[in-house]
């Protein structure tokens, strides 16, 4: 597959992620792959398989906020093929990514609407958390992260 940012990439057919309703603003884009490179760790790129130029930069949500509490609405649980009786656990049932936007004022992570991926079926949604206090523009504080190194 040709991509704008990574040249030609090879991927296993069963590693493709299926977004049954796309992502808000990109409703017609349904298939993505998650790409991770040693040199850009901890970033995860969500590359569209339908549009070579479309690629979201994301980070595992627990890398942004280790205490993040995932809350997925019943409609999104249904789209993920997960039971509505309990919330999915990050790392066990689902993989959870925060989409990163980079503006002049600095990078922000969307904690209001994490990308949630069913680890078993690879179905995915960008799930807008119901009644959430999380910000859609959580400021990543890279200076603070750098101190940890």
């Amino acid at each position: 597959m040709q991509t704008r940012n990574f040249g030609t990439i090879a991927y296993e057919a069963d590693s493709a992620l299926e977004f049954p309703i796309g992502l808000p603003g990109f409703e017609s884009r349904r298939r993505f792959v998650a790409l991770r490179f040693v040199e850009s760790d901890p970033l995860v790129y969500l590359q569209s398989l339908e549009d070579p130029a479309l690629c979201f930069v994301t980070m595992p949500i627990l890398s942004v906020d280790p205490q993040y509490r995932l809350k997925v609405g019943s409609e999104d649980l249904d789209r993920l093929g997960l039971p509505a009786t309990r919330q999915p656990r990050i790392g066990e049932d689902v993989f959870c990514l925060a989409v990163i936007a980079i503006r002049e004022t600095g990078p922000t992570a969307n904690l209001l609407a994490p990308v949630v991926i069913n680890l078993k079926t690879r179905q995915a949604v960008q799930a807008i958390a119901p009644d959430s206090e999380y910000s859609h523009r959580f400021e990543l504080m890279p200076e603070e992260v750098a101190v940890c190194s």
Partner: protein, 78 residues
């Protein structure tokens, strides 16, 4: 902003074509029914916020990313 008080089951009409019904009032949320012409998009505000964020995110340039990475990664891994 015009603010109206309505009871459960009551309706508001906007411009003759849009009808808003207060379908159910719960403890912390209300269910609202909306009848509008098909061509009129009706979405929750959060969906629009997330769309805007996604459009901004999709436009990230390689240079901006390099800057972000330089700050996220420990210096030793360079």
């Amino acid at each position: 902003m015009l603010v109206m008080s309505r009871r459960q089951g009551e309706t508001i009409l906007i411009g003759g074509e849009i009808e808003i019904v207060i379908a159910h009032i719960g403890r912390s949320r209300v269910k609202v029914g909306i009848r509008a012409p098909r061509e009129m998009p009706v979405i929750a505000r959060e969906v629009e916020l997330v769309s805007e964020e996604n459009r901004a995110a999709a436009g990230a340039t390689h240079e901006a990313l390099t800057g972000l990475l330089a700050r996220l990664q420990p210096k030793s891994s360079k």
